[in-house]
Symmetry: C2
Subunit: 352 residues, 2 copies
């Protein structure tokens, strides 16, 4: 009754979204602050009667707001129902076993192998160094890439790849193979590579409103790239779902993009809380990898990630652990408000 494709899928498992008990929720890298007051205003003033009409299939107002923010043209912007949807369409459009092997680091975002299975793409995971850093030489040593994708900062390690290394990678990587930088967390550091899209036609940047713009519940993502790449993404989208962004999501996205002051203020607060927590952890017997994101990847020698997760859950705090090679003694801790992080520290103080 089923296609052969579906028989071999291993779907992605998102982090817990408990619908019942109230937790301090530090497990899915959401923003602890609400969306901009301008988003609230846009939704309050939205004319609900217009929902009877389809949205603009091109989401041109949203694309324009994003283009303005980054100093790009609208033709350099693609939008979708969350950055996961954009990643899926990009895997479809750019990576193909007939062209070689897709490269991505390990550990990294665990949705990448899922997309490869979904679209039958040949893949190779490139191990990060023992300290979990990415070394571009390890990508460049591979003989026949169909493309490359990596998050910057990487997930779940939170570690960033420096801008000069990104430029060197793009200069030396085959110019007829697409390089995707998944910048879901880039607004919590200064490693954004969107300024490079004019120089490298094969570079696609994928970003999201879910983290730095507090809109995980609205499902909005975007991509920045050359006209050629964006045009291919449009072809894929229009063969799958013509109208992925609804009317309310579009006005919310425009408002979030326009409120630069709120965006900067909340992100700076999160970075400050992050640095405070990292400092506390490293001074109290934990090992926290250097974070450029809104989360920290940390371990305490002698305790497994699962045990830390379970003990914190029992005390009302959700973090995430991954029962995977090399990282099963870590937990990933999302940066919450100062009060939430203080509550976490209080629990961790007597952790043995």
């Amino acid at each position: 009754m089923f296609s052969q494709r579906i028989m071999q899928l291993k779907p992605y498992t998102p982090g817990e979204q408990p619908q019942d008990k109230k937790y301090i929720k530090l497990n899915t890298n959401e923003n602890p602050y609400p969306p901009s007051p301008m988003v609230e205003k846009a939704i309050r003033e939205f004319d609900v009667a217009t929902l009877k009409l389809y949205p603009d299939p091109e989401s041109n107002k949203l694309k324009q707001a994003i283009a303005d923010f980054y100093g790009k043209k609208r033709e350099n912007i693609f939008v979708g129902n969350g950055s996961d949807e954009i990643l899926a369409l990009a895997f479809y459009a750019f990576f193909d076993r007939n062209n070689g092997t897709l490269l991505y680091p390990y550990p990294s975002y665990s949705f990448y192998p899922v997309y490869c299975n979904f679209f039958n793409i040949e893949k190779k995971e490139i191990q990060t160094r023992p300290d979990f850093s990415i070394d571009i030489e390890d990508f460049l040593a591979e003989p026949n890439p169909s493309g490359l994708i990596f998050p910057n900062p990487n997930a779940p390690t939170a570690m960033g790849l420096a801008k000069p290394k990104i430029i060197e990678l793009l200069e030396r990587f085959p110019s007829d193979r697409v390089v995707i930088i998944d910048e879901a967390y880039v607004d919590f550091c200064d490693l954004g590579a969107d300024d490079l899209i004019d120089r490298f036609e094969n570079l696609l940047i994928i970003k999201t409103f879910s983290k730095s713009r507090s809109l995980a519940g609205m499902r909005l993502g975007y991509a920045i790239g050359s006209k050629k790449l964006i045009s291919a993404l449009n072809t894929a989208k229009n063969s799958f779902n013509s109208y992925p962004v609804d009317r309310i999501a579009e006005v919310a996205g425009v408002a979030a993009m326009n409120d630069k002051a709120y965006f900067q203020e909340t992100n700076q607060k999160i970075c400050k809380t992050r640095d405070y927590l990292a400092n506390w952890l490293n001074s109290n017997g934990w090992e926290a990898l250097e974070s450029s994101a809104n989360f920290i990847f940390a371990r305490k020698p002698g305790i497994s990630g699962q045990e830390i997760y379970q003990r914190l859950k029992d005390e009302g705090i959700l973090v995430r652990y991954f029962n995977l090679d090399r990282i099963n003694d870590f937990v990933r801790i999302t940066i919450g408000t100062d009060a939430e992080i203080q509550a976490l520290i209080d629990r961790l103080t007597d952790f043995k």
Copy 2:
């Protein structure tokens, strides 16, 4: 730079969504009435601060509201970002050239061949009869189907297939091949087949909030089927995008599903206006196919569909025509309000 897949795509072209001039818009089968007042209330009362959190990836509250409406279990319901997205995932999950050839009628929804190209599915269009009716014998005569999909009522003809014929088709079609009935327009007649899902495990019904619930701008669709089919759709969804339905769409969908009185009242109004227009057309030198939907497919001997479309557009009314085999002398007219349809009739009165 691109995958081989994307090189051969021919994307779907949705109907015009003019962003500038004000038209009487009878071209994309939207509902002329606003969503239920309960939808307005749900959106007005929505707590915007919660948008910082991901939605429930399972959309369980929405599934429950749909299950309650149809007297089903939640495990029989799937939801997505518009019924187009659900169609795409269903094509992926159920149809495969290794299992044979997918059948669908011609003319029909022009997104079906697009999905086939997108997922490399072998297809065969089965011509409707000269009067555009579907004859189930034409499907049953095909030797090696991988599955079958047809809209009921069909689009763009608006013609319905009678319930006894649907039952006979399901009884005689291979029980290990999926049959999808695309019921986007079924709420404007009484041909719904959702009561058959317990009897036929291979039957999937796909429906939308866009037409009969006035929520085209919100992007919400759903499917009803056996636990086995719904489970396969979940696997596909969780390999593509874990959270297709945003938080506001979910509460809007629940409210729309719960307001049965408004749903019935607006649909009855539309059916009444439709029957009035059909009667006028058939009494004034036009030929309108018998409609079970919220639109009418009609022609006037001696004028091409494109000419009718252009002359009406010049006068401020948008309808849709299709430059396709057998139907290029028709236009598809969405049922508007009584005033909009009267304005159309006024223009058509002196059509030569």
